[in-house]
Amino acid sequence: MTTQSNTGITTKNVQFYYSKHHALHDVSLDFPSNKVTALIGPSGCGKSTFLRCLNRMNDLIPGTRVEGSILLDGQDIYASSLDVVELRRRVGMVFQRPNPFPKTIFENVAYGLRVNGLANQTEIGDRVEAALKRAAIWQEVKDRLDASALGLSGGQQQRLCIARALAVEPEVLLMDEPASALDPIATQKIEESIHELKSHLTIIIVTHNMQQAARVSDYTAFFYMGTLVEHGETDTLFTRPAKKQTEDYITGRFG
């Protein structure tokens, strides 16, 4: 079982380009360890682009370019010597729509462990169980681990994907609108998981749901047109934001 993470992420003057389109402007932000930070802002503001910079997922898009620095536990994640596969183990990701493999529930979670070279069946079994428990889905699937993951409900599939990300014991978990396709009960379960998980992980979540950001996060960052407008404690940002732009957005006065 992973103990408390001390890993935080620091970004300094991050610029991001999709070819000639300048999508992120000079974003400097600290993500403290064992805290949940929510990234909010209107569509196209750059929050998901920024999230994907944090584990180099944008590398997969041709013509993109990053400037500035992103430090994971003090180490530059864009350094040429860095192992990107290892980076993505340390910085896991959960996407908007659940994307389980067409395999059994057990194999979905065990997959990352095997890819990372673990062969001991007992250890794999233990770690799969631990990951499913931490993702709050163990009670629902423990008697059907050999069933296809595709037979699970949307909410269960998403928690399975969280378990899959947790199995390789990441230090940071990126969540890109993880509950936007789920019903309120499934959403509540995901949010409860986030509260539990932050004792072990640093979590960064992109959400369009302002109430969700207010419910789950310790810190909130508001983006607008590729710029970080305001960042601070969620309690403060949702009760007395410093910037008028933030106030207008969170109270629905523009859009």
Binding site: F238, T239, R240, T246, E247, T251, G252, F254, G255
Partner: protein, 231 residues
């Protein structure tokens, strides 16, 4: 960014309008009660007592509207602060209405003894309380924060006035004036009116604090003047 009104903002505007109506009703009740007392106007005193149910009904209406908005729209930031302030203000305004009724009831009782007149201290207290209420409501309506701070910090003057009135109402041992039952009764009525006016002043100070919280997002409650300035 372009501003636009949403259903939530329409609801908030409606709530604000109802709160302003309640402010006007409470202020009017206090004005009428004071005039009834000063001028011995019995019909006006009866009118204040009979009209109190309107203020009570407004409190219920505002409670219901605010709760509905909280439950259905989950407002944040300034909208949330407005709702919290509104719920608190409605309580203070309803109590101000009750104090106006209390003054009106005393006005009717004092009327029965026409030989006794209202003391100058009580008239002064009346002016101070009415002015404070008017200022607090203006501070809320116009978001005038210096005025809100001024109202929330002036309670010492009112306490002094009340103490002076109490002192002057007590018969001195050297006084040759007979301490009749009628005079004692009149003194008691005046003291009860003074109490009601002091409470109105206290509620006005609360309203000023709610207005400050709504605009600035910080609380003035249980803070000294220096603490409030430094926060």
């Amino acid at each position: 960014m372009t501003a636009h009104d949403t259903h939530l903002h329409t609801q908030l505007t409606h709530l604000r309008t109802r709160l302003l109506v309640m402010c006007a009703e409470a202020r009017e009740a206090v004005e009428r009660a004071c005039i009834a007392l000063e001028e011995g106007n019995t019909p006006l005193a009866v009118q204040v007592i009979d009209h109190d149910h309107t203020i009570n009904a407004l409190e219920n209406e505002i409670d219901s509207l605010a709760l509905s908005i909280l439950a259905r729209a989950q407002p944040v930031a300034r909208d949330l602060r407005f709702l919290v302030s509104t719920l608190r203000m409605a309580v203070d305004l309803e109590r101000i209405g009750d104090e106006a009724v209390s003054i009106a009831e005393r006005a009717l009782l004092i009327q029965q003894d026409k030989d006794q007149c209202t003391s100058p201290q009580l008239r002064e207290l009346m002016q101070v309380a009415r002015r404070a209420l008017q200022s607090a409501l203006t501070a809320f309506q116009q978001e005038d924060m210096p005025l809100a701070l001024q109202v929330s910090r002036g309670s010492a003057d009112v306490t002094q006035l009340e103490v002076r009135l109490l002192h002057d109402s007590l018969p001195s041992p050297e006084s040759a004036e007979p301490n009749s039952y009628g005079r004692q009764l009149h003194t008691m009525h005046q003291l009860l009116v003074a109490r009601a006016l002091t409470r109105i002043y206290g509620r006005a100070a609360n309203i000023a604090e709610h207005a400050y919280f709504m605009v600035e997002g910080t609380s003035l409650k249980h803070k000294t003047h220096a603490e409030a300035q430094g926060q």
